[in-house]
């Protein structure tokens, strides 16, 4: 049986990849994918703990996260399309009107 720490390590690596991608990438779609990566990193730690402690709550949480992620991607993709139509770019550094 694979020890718990392996799962947690993999989960941490996935999350770190997501954070890094989120911070350094300029393309909105890539940033979006990084967010999904972070979510799935968290999901992995949830199921790992659920299996380790024989508790169902962690697995239920994963379903919640997946539902929320689906909803979020629906809204997010719609926003990306709208941004692309009006500004004709997907570079986040050029989407900076919301400031004083």
């Amino acid at each position: 049986m694979v020890p718990l720490s392996y799962y947690l390590l993999l989960s941490g690596i996935l999350f770190a990849c997501g954070v890094t991608g989120f911070l350094i990438k300029r393309n909105i779609i890539t940033i979006f994918m990084s967010i999904e990566l972070m979510l799935n990193g968290v999901n992995l730690s949830f199921v790992a703990f659920a299996a380790h402690w024989h508790a169902l709550a962690g697995q239920v949480f994963v379903f919640f996260v997946m539902v929320v992620a689906a909803a979020e991607s629906a809204v997010g993709l719609a926003i990306i399309i709208a941004v692309h139509r009006t500004r004709e770019t997907l570079n986040v550094d050029q989407v900076n009107l919301l400031k004083l």
Binding site: I24, R26, I31, V92, N96, K99
Partner: protein
């Protein structure tokens, strides 16, 4: 126990009328408004009459409970009504005279654009006045007391687009508040010491107390404070200044509120509290002195006024002084008697004055009238009766009540009597002066072809001939009824009938027994004197204003400064303005406005706002608009939180 009298109907009927006219009147026709206004006030009168007819078969005092109002510890004040001989008299006067004046108003106010508003207010006034009269505790009475003040304010300022009317309304309201302040403190004292405001409960606790002589006692304090309240409402020195200004209101209002009913509320209140006053001789003396002085003081001002309504206003103040004088010498029933007869003849005088003003197209200056006798005979006849009545000519109403008061005053102290007689002479003089200036001689007015040029509201009919003309019957009818009452109303006082009727209320009097009784010979002499001064006033006025019209000018010139002082109402308004109004205005401007409001309140708020602006100006630069820097901040923040949790040791 008798079956319920349903007293609540009496005040509630006018309230319903006020509500209907107030909410729906704007869209209704004048006829509908008049029918509603008249129906509800008339119904209240009818119900009051019905109560009066059953009066002999009910046990008195009759109390009727409707609902709990305030219950706090042992203190309670309820919505309940109290009926005894005193409230019955007031009830009939208020509803009866009120109904007559409603009828009169239909004619007088017909062309006013705010016709419905007038009837709404008038009905509202009746509601509050009846509440005042019927209340069984001081607090409910106070509601009525304030309510009639409100109605008075609304009706004085009825033509609120006119600046003088608006400020007269405010003046009445503010001066009354000063009196109410005293009234309220008096009520607080009553609550503190007797734990109740209910008339029967308070008076039952007061009755075992002895007569206070020290002048520093509780009852004296309560009595004087209540008198302060009465001074405000009933326009006595030093708070009388609002009543002459209140003549800015429509004339039926002057008749109903500022002559017949509301201003007598103070007298009613003092008479209702007679149990307290009888045990506080100093308070009674204060009442008597204020009343006597006011009677004389206002009467002298009345001599020089040329505005027909102002003369009547000062006359009202003076007659109210008589009533307080009567109460002050312990003759409460005489005071109430005069209150009733005064309601008849002064209501009639005001309505007559309204009819005169109506006839000459809105003119109120008596110098521009004259010779109206032949133009408006009915008005002349009824006003003549009222003048004879107020002058104390037997056998009209005023003679009976005034004579009663003077007799009681003489029994108490001859000084009161002397001033009363002098006042009676002056009263007779200025009333006949009014009558002669208005109805005798030649007509001095402009030929009225432009109806209602003085008050837009007085334009009334379309037969535009150039002469004064008689009022319509809807106005003359109430005049005739009131004239009949002024003629015959005094006879209820025959053989002290009225006094005996009120005996169950005032019978417990302590002071009355103390007063020395006079022999019947003295009584006849006193009566003779009061009749004589009545006729003397008539004769002097006739000489000055009919047979030798050039004489008044000479008399005025020879009196010089004294005449000027009286003409300017003893400069009381000016003195008050200097003494009270100006310091208040100055203090408010320099201390409260410039000092507190601008320097403290405004400045602290402004500096707080400036500070917030500075801080936010610095903070807003954090909003760069760069999405990735936001993300960096979030990641850094999360890292800090996680580091903190690890540092502190989560879950331990």
């Amino acid at each position: 126990m008798t079956s319920s009298l349903n007293l609540w109907l009496i005040p509630v009927l006018p309230l319903a009328g006020a509500a209907i006219n107030g909410f729906l009147g704007k869209r209704s026709s004048r006829t509908a408004v008049s029918i509603i206004g008249l129906f509800f006030s008339g119904a209240a009168f009818a119900w009051a009459l019905q109560v009066a007819l059953r009066f002999s078969s009910i046990t008195l005092p009759y109390q009727e409970f409707f609902a709990h109002w305030i219950r706090s510890g042992s203190f309670s004040a309820d919505f309940s009504f109290y009926l005894d001989q005193l409230s019955l008299v007031m009830l009939l006067v208020v509803t009866g005279v009120g109904f007559l004046i409603h009828i009169y108003s239909v004619g007088y106010m017909w062309d006013d654009p705010s016709y419905y508003r007038f009837f709404c207010y008038l009905n509202l006034f009746l509601f509050f006045m009846l509440n005042l009269v019927l209340a069984n505790n001081y607090l409910l009475m106070f509601i009525g007391w304030e309510g009639v003040g409100l109605a008075s304010y609304l009706l004085i300022g009825f033509w609120f687009t006119k600046d003088s009317a608006a400020s007269a309304g405010k003046k009445a309201f503010i001066v009354n508040r000063i009196g109410d302040f005293g009234f309220l403190i008096g009520l607080f004292l009553i609550i503190q010491h007797f734990g109740s405001l209910n008339f029967t409960q308070v008076f039952d606790q007061v009755k075992p107390l002895g007569i206070e002589n020290g002048g520093a006692g509780l009852l004296t304090a309560i009595g004087i404070l209540l008198m302060v309240g009465a001074c405000g409402k009933s326009a006595q020195i030093p708070l009388y200044v609002w009543l002459p200004d209140a003549m800015e209101g429509p004339t039926p209002v002057s008749a109903l509120i500022h002559a017949a009913t509301m201003v007598t509320a103070g007298v009613y209140m003092v008479a209702r509290s007679h149990v307290i006053f009888e045990r506080a001789p100093i308070a009674l003396t204060v009442v008597a002195i204020i009343g006597t002085l006011t009677a004389l003081f206002a009467a002298t001002i009345g001599i020089t006024q040329t505005d027909i309504k102002k003369v009547l206003a000062y006359s009202t103040v003076s007659q109210l002084g008589y009533m307080f004088m009567a109460c002050g010498v312990g003759a409460f029933s005489a005071g109430i008697f005069h209150l009733m007869t005064h309601a008849f003849f002064k209501g009639l005088l005001f309505l007559g004055a309204g009819s005169v003003i109506h006839a000459v197209g809105g003119e109120q200056d008596m110098r521009k009238m004259g010779g109206l006798r032949s133009y408006i005979p009915w008005t002349f006849l009824t006003m003549g009766i009222a003048t004879l009545a107020i002058a104390g000519i037997p056998p009209l109403a005023g003679f009976w009540s005034k004579d009663e008061i003077l007799l009681k005053a003489y029994q108490n102290n001859w000084v009161y009597w002397l001033i009363g007689v002098i006042t009676a002479f002056i009263t007779s003089f200025y009333m006949f002066r009014l009558l002669f200036m208005t109805f005798w001689g030649d007509y001095h007015g402009v030929q009225v072809d432009d109806h209602g040029h003085a008050h837009a509201a007085h334009g009334h009919d379309d037969h535009g001939h150039g002469e004064p003309h008689e009022s319509p019957w809807v106005m003359l009818g109430p005049l005739v009824v009131l004239a009949a009452l002024s003629l015959l109303g005094g006879f209820v006082g025959y053989h002290n009938g009225f006094e005996h009727f009120l005996d169950p209320v005032f019978g417990s009097g302590v002071t009355e027994a103390a007063g020395e009784t006079v022999s019947s010979a003295t009584e006849w002499i006193l009566m003779g004197v009061s009749i004589a001064v009545g006729f003397l006033g008539l004769i002097v006025a006739y000489i000055l204003y009919v047979s030798k019209p050039e004489l008044p000018k000479k008399v005025a010139d020879s009196l010089g400064a004294l005449y000027d002082a009286v003409l300017n109402k003893y400069y009381v308004d000016e003195i008050y303005a200097k003494l009270f109004v100006k310091p208040l205005v100055d203090g408010s401007t320099s201390v409260l406005w410039q000092g507190v409001d601008r320097k403290v309140i405004d400045d602290s708020i402004n500096s707080a706002a400036d500070g917030a602006q500075h801080v936010s100006d610095n903070v807003r630069h954090m909003q760069s608009g760069n999405l990735r820097s936001y993300a960096g901040w979030i990641a850094a923040g999360a890292a800090v939180v996680i580091a903190y949790m690890i540092w502190m040791g989560v879950g331990r």
